[in-house]
Symmetry: C2
Subunit: 137 residues, 2 copies
DNA sequence: TCCTACGATGGACGGAATCCAAGTCAAGAA
DNA sequence: TTCTTGACTTGGATTCCGTCCATCGTAGGA
């Protein structure tokens, strides 16, 4: 039993076979999958799982804080199971590959009060962009 | 004649009435419009302008570096004409409103070499998220 | 074992953006 | 000025991503 499934059980998550498979796919893959990729991998184990269920489950996992949603440009959102370690992302502008990175400092602290315009600022997301070794040629 | 149109003329941009109107809309509004909003404002002056042309023109302005594309979650992209002053964005998670902000420090410098994984990192984009005064109620 | 509220299903739907073939026109050439 | 041509525009179709909804199924408590 994975840590993720144990935590979900602790939260009284109703454990259906569909939810289990989605959680296992995320837990097993330490890459950043799109919803369709999650659906494809889930369907290998549970062929009749529907896309709506995958979307519902991913949304719940995001709400529960177990998974982070990463929006990259106009493409499909990606889901990052590494939600318990603060990190940022490095995206290849060539092929779209994503890596988790750990920059120094705390970006939230770099936004002075007079630059907050009355907003209740709760999150700072940093996206580094560049070419990966393969795309840089 | 605006600075933007002068720069475009200098780049040998073929100046059609449609492109002129789109450029003027962006140049006149210092807010972050969606493509549909740009289309609506452009259509006030040139009623028959098509959506495809607005998308084409916006894409060209982004390629030329005159406009910055801002992707916010699952919503429509917004277009930021303030491309010549480095800045970051503060987004309201309630209504999607965007403000330009100027955080301290240089986020690019916060990514140490061993965290770059061989990428040629060229850009660091910071998105602050929170509730604006109106949405915070 | 039975009940029932919660979850799953899949097809319809919606918004955002792109594609395409046909028509139009800006701007350089003569 | 007029001609010519390749670049630009058009709008409807299409794709992609995601959500909605009415109906069916089932996990898990009684």
């Amino acid at each position: 039993m994975s840590d993720l499934l144990e935590r979900l059980r602790g939260r009284r998550w109703r454990l259906t076979s569909q939810r289990r498979v989605v959680a296992e796919v995320l837990d097993g893959e330490h890459v950043h999958l799109t919803a369709d990729e999650v659906h494809a991998r889930a369907a290998e184990r549970l062929p009749e799982i529907s896309r709506a269920t995958v979307y519902n489950t991913l949304g719940e996992l995001v709400t529960l804080g177990e998974v982070i949603e990463v929006s990259t440009d106009g493409r499909a959102k990606r889901y990052d199971p590494n939600a318990h370690e603060p990190h940022q992302h490095l995206v290849c502008t060539g092929c779209g590959a994503i890596r988790d990175v750990h920059p120094l400092g705390n970006p939230l602290a770099d936004l002075p009060p007079e630059q907050r315009f009355g907003f209740t600022v709760s999150q700072a997301e940093v996206t580094y962009r560049g070419l990966c070794p393969a795309c840089a040629g």
